[in-house]
Symmetry: none
Subunit: 216 residues, 2 copies
């Protein structure tokens, strides 16, 4: 079993997770207020699932710069050219392609990430490493970029399956079993947060508990 195949399976699961979630929504919708209209789920749209083939499954790996490429990239980055233009990107890509597979996207992303990472590193370093418990829960409405530690912003810790409330306990149990398994290998998105550990799990296929601060 290769990783690609495994990943394909994971994505399959994610697809069905999504389907199930939406089905559950429909079901709840129907059972909750049977006389209360508002559901247009029955006659909504329906995207005919394309039956076209498409077997580029073996393509899922992300680009990994070779040492030589990395060296060149670092050198260019250190030259101060913060944001290479499109043409520059092409140039660099052409240059690097002599040392391995690479694309403009890779170069572009690399610079983006590189810059962001440097910035964040500096910010965290200059700020302070002593995280106290007095983190202000209020996020600056205008400068949310300056408060990397307040929100306990690990991602959804709860497996989605548990969120599904069925009327049938049988299904619920099934989902329970599911959730255990669908734990992805790892996840640990960010380390810039103060001191809390991210919770592994959560494939994040769908969100439902969104409570953001939206600016009109």
């Amino acid at each position: 079993m290769t990783d690609e195949q495994l990943e394909t399976l994971r994505k399959q699961i994610a697809v069905y997770a999504s389907i199930c979630e939406q089905l559950v929504e429909m079901h709840k919708n129907l059972t909750a207020h049977q006389d209360l209209a508002g559901g247009r789920l029955g006659n909504l749209y329906c995207d005919p699932l394309m039956t076209s083939a498409g077997h580029k499954i073996t393509a899922r790996q992300r680009w990994t710069p070779t040492p030589v490429q990395l060296q060149i990239l670092e050198r260019i980055f250190d030259q101060g050219t913060g944001t290479p233009s499109k043409q520059k990107i092409k140039d660099i890509t052409s240059e690097l392609s002599q040392h391995g597979q690479i694309s403009e996207t890779n170069v572009y992303n690399w610079f983006q990430n590189r810059r962001a990472r440097s910035k964040r590193k500096q910010l965290v370093a200059s700020s302070n490493n002593a995280e106290s418990e007095v983190e202000t829960e209020v996020e600056s409405p205008n400068e949310k970029k300056t408060n990397p530690e307040n929100l306990l912003s690990h991602h959804n810790p709860a497996p989605r399956a548990e969120d599904l409330c069925f009327q049938n306990p049988e299904i619920t149990s099934e989902l329970h079993f599911l959730s255990v398994l669908s734990n992805p290998p790892t996840y640990h998105g960010d380390d810039h947060l103060s001191g809390k550990m991210g919770v592994p799990g959560n494939y994040g296929i769908y969100e439902q508990a969104e409570d953001y601060n939206m600016a009109g």
Copy 2:
């Protein structure tokens, strides 16, 4: 990844298939009695896990569209109305708020981003138009770009999972396909398994090419 885990994943998919079937059944029953009903489907999930944890779910900093919302947005986007008017934005927002927290700003940004990225994708695709596979071309109607899916190219123009047709009885066809999967033949080779067991032409739920392309 071992074979046992692979087997477990298969079981998981099978379970999802079962769940979907039952949900479809339930939905059918409910919709049969009432021609079309259903109340506002809020996100009134009962999440025993989170509540037991004690703390509230962390609010995200940025809006993340739910699958349903994405589906609707994509659909509207594909309708050609490139620049939704203010009123249109309001309308869409109202519509989408039935499926999760959202604001007009989100909708506006989404369309802006969507368009910009489509454009850029198109641009890059034309520049890197090296070769063309004849796989999912049928699925790229207009601006979906004719991406060169070479070996290393991993992005697919396929719609997301939410594009799956589930609002209609036609979901049964998907489930049917699924049942095939849940009956895993032990003979599966390397490429065949992952190559054909996916939803046709649709794997990525979140992954999507953006600016440039992963050329090979």
